[in-house]
């Protein structure tokens, strides 16, 4: 994943908001990256740009050698389905679907046969401690369980990149640690690339690379101890 001189300006009164200001960023396959910064620093906008949920004002976004900012909505939807996984801060499961149905959603979009889908979901659920919760609807799951289902959904389609926008913000520290354990493990075992935003110092510590955003610019970018 790579961005070049990426700008996002929201037209707004009284003056336009420059949420992302000329960011050049490259994330390699298999990295585990935290994007930190105070509220309003442009983290969400940056993740949305990379995931094709919003279009840049200027600059380029490359996903696995494809420049995506000019793609049609349809192509972008396909791109997300095939190559990008999302985890959001909250309310991010579909409430009418069971945990299993939520987790297999991307696989279903990809056209994976039902039997194989179920098998892959069950296997992953076992791995991340969701066994036995397959048929629960989201309201019957704890926040931590919901986020794990969301992570499962994001990684099951075997995307090139998982983008997580403050995935632990609604979780207590213990549950947050557990979720990071899961993400880290998947990063290690499956080689899934993670880019997640946070403003929680304890979460930043878990990243192997820490990018600090301030006012839509990269203030620092360093390998962390991990």
């Amino acid at each position: 994943m790579r961005t070049e001189r990426l700008w996002k300006i929201y037209p707004q009164d009284p003056r336009p908001v420059e949420a992302v200001r000329g960011i050049d960023l490259t994330v390699l396959r298999g990295e585990f990256v935290a994007m930190a910064g105070p509220s309003g620093s442009g983290k969400t906008t940056m993740l949305n740009l990379v995931g094709g949920l919003t279009r840049p004002t200027r600059g380029e976004v490359w996903i696995e050698g494809e420049e995506i900012s000019a793609l049609s909505d349809r192509r972008l939807a396909d791109l997300r389905m095939q190559r990008i996984g999302f985890v959001f801060q909250s309310y991010n499961l579909l409430p009418v679907l069971s945990a299993l149905e939520n987790a297999e959603f991307t696989l279903l979009l990809q056209g994976v046969p039902a039997g194989e889908r179920r098998e892959r979901v069950r296997e992953l659920f076992r791995e991340i401690g969701l066994e036995g919760l397959e048929n629960r609807r989201p309201p019957k799951l704890s926040g931590g369980q919901q986020q794990r289902v969301a992570v499962a959904r994001a990684v099951l389609g075997e995307p090139a990149l998982v983008l997580a926008d403050e995935p632990t913000a609604n979780l207590d520290s213990h549950t947050a640690e557990a979720l990071l354990d899961v993400m880290e493990r998947l990063n290690r075992t499956k080689g899934t690339t993670f880019v997640f935003s946070t403003h929680d110092p304890r979460v930043m510590e878990r990243a192997r690379r820490l990018i600090r955003l301030v006012d839509g610019r990269i203030e620092s970018d360093q390998a962390a101890s991990g």
Partner: protein, 420 residues
């Protein structure tokens, strides 16, 4: 992309429908009541049409008529079927009578003349009839106040004319009428009875003469008639019967035209068509309002779910699939309402069929375009009304979802995700 997992969209739509049970129940109730109202309204209208047409055609005209092609509209006495030669009357009557759906066949001759008794004279429409056959088509037979149908050499007159010229059954009257050979027919007839149809224009003007006697008076051969009036078992099937009669009698004479009541009773047809159109407009307004009401509810529901739709789209769900979820929900809403509506409508329709609404304590019998109406709202069983209403109902559900569906995909996912 494999498409055999389409059922996920249906599943989501179905579950979405029941997320706000109260809202769905209220909307579905409104729709099912609308369905019941539409079914009942159409059934009552059908009953009223049937009564209108039946009354308008069962008194005299019948629902199908045969004429010589140049008879109408002038109704010249010379324009008999088969021209001056006439035709084989018995063959014509039996050919028409054997057509499926025909319940009665009555041949007729018409003339104009004067009827006098003593010093009093009245202008009259002379109607030559076969008394036995006329029973199966018109109401004259059942309308006698005194006496009965005329035999050879006899005449039956309406009560208003009987009063004007002071004639009573058993008395003789003189009938003068222009004849087909240019002479003036002039004959003495005995009054066989006095009828009362209760409709203006008939009881003071129509006189019934036995067919052969009138033909003799008007110097016409036995095979010469002006009209064959035909009754059918179902008035709404008259067009089809007319076509079949036309085929059955085509070989008997040149230039025979067979027309259903919608042609020769233009006014009645115009009236019922207008009422039908008015009815359709009312129904469209009802369902149109329903569409706005339901669309509003669906709009609310999709607005509440905009984050979910955004999440689904961020995972790669196409806009088309989102539209499918919303439209399916509308479809399910329509089907659920239809199920409830059908359960509700069935007993209501059966009830009004068994116990017609009797409005006679509010309004008396009234005459409408020459058609006597009973203030009785009857409901006829028919699949047409429920079918049309069902299609309209399910259509309403789907149509209501279109705008909300469009709104659901118009919001960029990032914006919807950001909104609270």
């Amino acid at each position: 992309m494999a498409r055999r997992d389409n059922d996920i969209w249906w599943r989501m739509a179905w579950r979405n429908l029941w997320r706000n049970r109260r809202r769905t129940a209220i909307t579905a109730s409104a729709l099912s009541f609308g369905f019941v109202a539409a079914v009942l309204m159409i059934a009552l209208m059908d009953g009223m049409f049937e009564q209108l047409v039946s009354n308008g055609t069962r008194v005299i005209t019948g629902q199908v008529q045969i004429h010589a092609d140049d008879y109408r509209p002038e109704r010249s006495m010379h324009d008999t079927m088969g021209g001056r030669e006439g035709l084989d009357l018995a063959a014509l009557v039996s050919a028409a009578g054997s057509v499926e759906g025909v319940t009665g066949v009555a041949p007729r001759v018409y003339g104009g003349g004067l009827v006098s008794s003593g010093d009093e004279t009245a202008g009259a429409v002379l109607m030559g009839i076969d008394p036995r056959r006329e029973e199966g088509v018109s109401r004259f037979g059942a309308a006698f106040v005194v006496g009965g149908m005329p035999g050879p050499g006899e005449i039956a007159i309406g009560n208003a004319m009987a009063e004007t010229i002071g004639a009573a059954p058993g008395e003789d009257v003189v009938v003068v009428a222009p004849a087909a050979d240019g002479s003036m027919g002039n004959e003495l007839f005995t009054v066989s009875g006095v009828f009362r149809l209760g409709m203006g224009g008939f009881d003071d003007a129509y006189v019934l003469v036995e067919l052969g006697s009138l033909q003799e008076l008007m110097a016409m051969d036995r095979g010469r008639i002006h009209e064959v009036a035909i009754s059918v078992d179902r008035t709404d099937q008259a067009d089809g019967v007319a076509t079949r009669v036309e085929e059955a009698v085509a070989g008997l004479a040149d230039g025979l035209v067979v027309e259903p009541w919608s042609v020769f009773h233009e006014q009645l047809y115009f009236m019922t068509s207008m009422m039908g159109a008015a009815n359709a407009i009312v129904a469209m307004i009802i369902f149109g309002m329903a569409i706005f009401g339901v669309a509003n509810t669906m709009l609310l529901a999709t607005f509440e779910r905009r984050r979910e739709f955004a999440v689904a789209r961020s995972l790669g769900t196409s806009a088309r699939s989102i539209v499918r979820i919303v439209v399916c929900e509308g479809l399910f809403l329509g089907l659920v309402s239809l199920g409830a509506g059908a359960l509700l409508a069935a007993p209501v329709v059966v009830y009004f069929h068994e116990f017609p609404l009797d409005l006679s304590s509010f309004i008396g019998t009234y005459s409408f375009m020459g058609s006597a109406m009973q203030p009785l709202m009857t409901v006829e069983y028919s699949w047409d009304g429920p079918l049309v209403s069902a299609v309209a109902l399910v259509g309403t559900g789907v149509a209501s979802a279109l705008y909300p569906a469009w709104r659901a995909i118009r919001v960029p996912p990032a914006d919807a995700l950001a909104s609270r």
